[in-house]
């Protein structure tokens, strides 16, 4: 028995980006980006501000038309496709935008139900409510959040509600755009935990854009570094640290990078101590 919607075998690539070129007017954001995302991994995408992390995500999910290059998700191209043509693919992925992007005229519960109603209009209304209810709890929202409107929620709760909506269809692939930005450290750690646990439970593949070094250390299997309009390296943190690219060195070995490592080591010690008892 398989859990989640994951189909197919291990180690095949869910997202394949080849020679992607993106730009606005004369200015190029990407110039030959190559990236493969394997099934079941959490891939972190990092890069300085303005290196086109969000543009890359928008290209992959078909919101941004690149100048050239190819993008395949689940073996199908997402380029130059109408929204309706992409429906079969959008069913299989969930997207969490930076600000949550909740529909402001709908309550949290209704927001979560939107994709379900759209794709399965015949679904039993009682089941629909129950699905929304357990998704709300799963993403760590308080029990009274269901009838609230997005404007009544805090930034962190909006992100959780956005995640609940992204997970509504039990997707195989989850795109998270800076999920922990603007959250307090406790909330951010809880969000990391949540992402990890959902990924394990549902066998998700997660495409995670982040600036948060703690998130990278805590949950990412591999990290892709965007710089100089390209993906300059993909690998585990240890592999990246072995490279001598100045930006990577600066990023991971700067004061914040060292702090994140220290936190991780402390946590591992604590875990080891807890297990030893």
């Amino acid at each position: 028995m398989e859990t989640g919607n994951a189909k197919g075998k291990e180690n095949d690539d869910v997202i394949v980006v080849r020679d992607l070129v993106n730009g606005f007017g004369e200015q190029l954001v990407h110039d030959g980006v190559n990236l493969s995302v394997r099934r079941g991994e959490i891939i972190g995408v990092v890069g300085g501000s303005g290196t086109g992390k969000s543009v890359l995500m928008r290209s992959i999910i078909g919101l941004q038309t690149p100048k050239s290059g190819s993008i395949e998700v689940f073996g199908e191209s997402t380029l130059n496709r109408e929204t309706t043509e992409l429906a079969d693919l959008t069913k299989r992925w969930g997207v969490l935008f930076q600000g949550g992007a909740l529909f402001s005229t709908l309550t949290v519960a209704e927001n979560v139900q939107v994709p379900l109603r759209e794709f399965y209009p015949g679904l039993d209304p009682a089941l629909l409510d129950e699905i929304a209810a357990y998704k709300v709890v799963m993403t760590g929202l308080p029990a009274d959040a269901g009838p609230k409107y997005p404007s009544e929620l805090s930034g962190g709760m909006r992100k959780r509600a956005g995640l609940a909506r992204a997970l509504a269809m039990d997707p195989e692939l989850l795109f998270l755009d800076e999920p922990t930005a603007g959250l307090d450290p406790i909330g951010a750690a809880a969000f990391d935990e949540l992402t990890r646990s959902l990924q394990k439970t549902l066998g998700l593949t997660v495409f995670l854009i982040t600036h948060d070094l703690d998130t990278l250390y805590a949950i990412c299997d591999r990290i892709a570094v965007l710089a100089d309009k390209k993906v300059i390296a993909v690998g585990t943190i240890d592999e990246l640290l072995a490279l001598d690219h100045p930006w990577i060195q600066e990023y991971f070995k700067g004061p914040r990078g060292r702090a994140a490592v220290a936190t991780l080591e402390r946590n591992e010690h604590a875990d080891a101590a807890a297990e030893g008892q």
Partner: protein, 365 residues
Amino acid sequence: MTDTAAFSQDSDTVRFTGSLVLARIGDLPERLRDSTEKVAHVDLSGVDRIDTVGAWVVHRFAAQHQADIIGLDADGEHLLEQVAKADQPVAMRPAPVGSFQRVVGELGDAVVQSGQTLYGLLGFFGATLIAFWNVATHPQRFRFNAIVQRFEVVGVTALGIIGLMSFLIGIVIAQQGSVQLQQFGFEVFTINLVGRLTLRELGVLMTAIMVAGRSGSAFAAQLGTMKLTEEIDAMRTIGVSPMEALVLPRVIASVVMMPLLGMYASIIAIVGGGLLCWISLDIPPVTFVQRIREVVPVTDLYVGLIKAPFFGLIIAMAGCFQGMLVEGDAEQVGTRTTAAVVQAIFLVIVLDAFFAVFFTSIGWV
């Protein structure tokens, strides 16, 4: 294997088969709900795939019958555990309210809201006056550039559309008037109609409606967006008063521009009316202008010019007031902008009615 989810009962064991996933679940939840037989075990060993929806349905079924779940692998156990953990009472929609109570409640809310709007508008008017006084006593705080820029946006760029509108209105008044007056052989009075109506009423009124739609809405949307992006808060923390920096230039621009635009609109409307008189009534322009000077008293011009600044004040106040009320989400910008235009036009027409009575009673007829 992607079979539709199904179940079968064998004494006290329910066996699920197929794919227990959202896409394949079909009417399984309803059929499960209808089954009333006693169940002690739920066997999932025949299930190919399961997602959170399937796990939820199984969990709820098992919980309902207090049955135990068997035949799961480690991943499945973990999934079911997670779903079971999420089984908590959650409010889904606001508590229902009786229809009578709702109607009364909405009526009360509307009354309270109207009262608050009026009160708020009055307060806002006061705040604008205070800002004006502050600037008047500290002339170095007078934002000359901002005001001139507003002059351009409110006044100069509106010349084209207001001119075209007034020209057409002049033609329509003359055309409709001449058709009616011809029946009595008094078509020469069309000139009185065009001259007096445009200078006294329509020139300024139509301009006010156009300015409310063009500039009043823009004021509300601009200030509303600035409120949402916290620009106005940022301004306050720097020590700049938004009333002085944002509201006052807009109010002054509207107050100054409205008489100019109103005058301009009246003249263009008279030109339009004159053109129609020339074409369809064979009244030459020279005669038309001469008649206008004879039949239109100068008080008509005063009536129009006195009303205009008040209309400008109302439009700018309504726009800025509604803009400053925006809070929360982007949708509010839209509703507040609409409210600004509706309020401005409504108040302008109400005030116009009062002015009509007033000017008649002082003998300017």
